[in-house]
Amino acid sequence: MKKVIYLGVFLGLAVSVATAVLAGVNSITAPLIAQAQAEAFREAVEMAFPNADSFSVVAGYEDTWSGYTVQVIEVLEGGERVGFVYDQSVPGFGGPIHHIVGIDNYGVFTNFYVIFHSETPGFVDVIFQDDWVNRIVGLHAGSSYYIDAVSGATATTAPIIRGLVGIYHDFVERR
């Protein structure tokens, strides 16, 4: 019995030390990670409308069509609305895929930028590289039904496409 208690205490101490070390490192890296994500978000929004001078959140909702979380940012240039930026999270194969989508007044996608995903590397390399993304940028939102899925990674591409269609539905109402 004494032995079991000794082993339990030893294991407990080891885990406590491990937790303390991880908490210490996390306190250093967490602000840097948050800062980098905020920076990536700002860059993605600015990339969608490089000449815009004002971005303001106008809505946040769960899309009834796709079921995904969406935040809508209105973009102004010289006091005139030039389009919207959608901050969307869709459920991928390995977890949420968080992306930023720009759409101008004519309904053309101006940017598609993935901020974070947990998809299996190797299988999804082709999706987040330029070739597939470039099929979205410049496309009219009404044609997003015709973006090809990628064989072997349909669980990743299908929810992204559903999300884009959801954005189009919202855009039509908002316009």
């Binding site: 491990a18 490192v25 996390n26 994500q37 590397p121 190797g122």
Partner: protein
């Protein structure tokens, strides 16, 4: 049987004379963990679709191997034998989680590309294998050298696989914009090589070549001895 360690005893480090040069270099070619022992095949097959990602995971695994081998060699003699595996896994998990946090904070692009595979280094059989088979029974310096040698071997295997797969699959090498070149136009590339099936084909060919070289060398040695 008299030399067997009882469950409640801790392990005594033997006072062996080590061949440090062999510990550092054998893992790279002669005893390469991937090409000879087929260890750590999961990341070696899944991540190596391009050279930069292969290099990134290779470096992370190298750092984890060196730190865990050294740490386990230091604490190994104080750890009760029956809970040694949970303790080793805790040490490995801490090292991997720290590397994951640092990569996320300082190299977000690499973190995003490698994703789950950084966390999966915890279950890399090479890391736990070296901890249990070598670090827990040998001196700190020898364990450090063993970790470094095997880590360099894994890094070498990752780079070789990544290099050939990217080159044949895209016709070019792009090391995250730091350097790169195009060997032939993209229309002549074979995309199969950057697909999962290409990973098995490339690994198979490389393992075949290394095994043939090893057999030829052994054959020559036997012939010399015979003469």
């Amino acid at each position: 049987m008299s030399n067997q360690v009882s469950p409640t005893e801790t392990v005594n480090v033997p006072t062996t004379k080590y061949n440090y040069k062999a510990l550092l270099t054998d893992g790279i070619l002669k005893e390469n963990p991937v090409f000879k022992y087929m260890l750590a095949l999961c990341p070696a097959l899944a991540i190596t679709s391009n050279t930069f990602n292969s290099f990134g995971l290779g470096i992370i695994t190298l750092i984890v191997l060196v730190t865990t081998n050294t740490a386990i060699s230091i604490i190994g003699r104080f750890v009760p034998n029956e809970i040694r595996i949970p303790i080793y896994i805790t040490v490995i998990a801490v090292a991997v989680t720290i590397m994951e946090m640092l990569t996320h904070a300082f190299m977000p692009a690499l973190f995003s590309a490698l994703g789950l595979f950084i966390a999966l280094v915890v279950s890399n059989c090479l890391v736990l294998g070296r901890a249990e088979a070598f670090a827990s029974k040998n001196s700190v310096v020898a364990s450090f050298c063993d970790g470094l040698g095997n880590g360099l071997g894994f890094l070498f295997a990752m780079i070789v696989l990544g290099f050939f797969r990217e080159l044949l699959g895209t016709g070019a090498i792009d090391f995250d914009g730091i350097f790169g070149f195009r060997l032939f136009p993209q229309e002549y590339a074979i995309p199969l090589f950057i697909q999962p099936m290409g990973a098995f084909a490339t690994l198979g060919v490389i393992v075949g070549i290394t095994a043939s070289v090893s057999i030829l060398k052994n054959h020559k040695k036997t012939q010399k001895k015979g003469a």
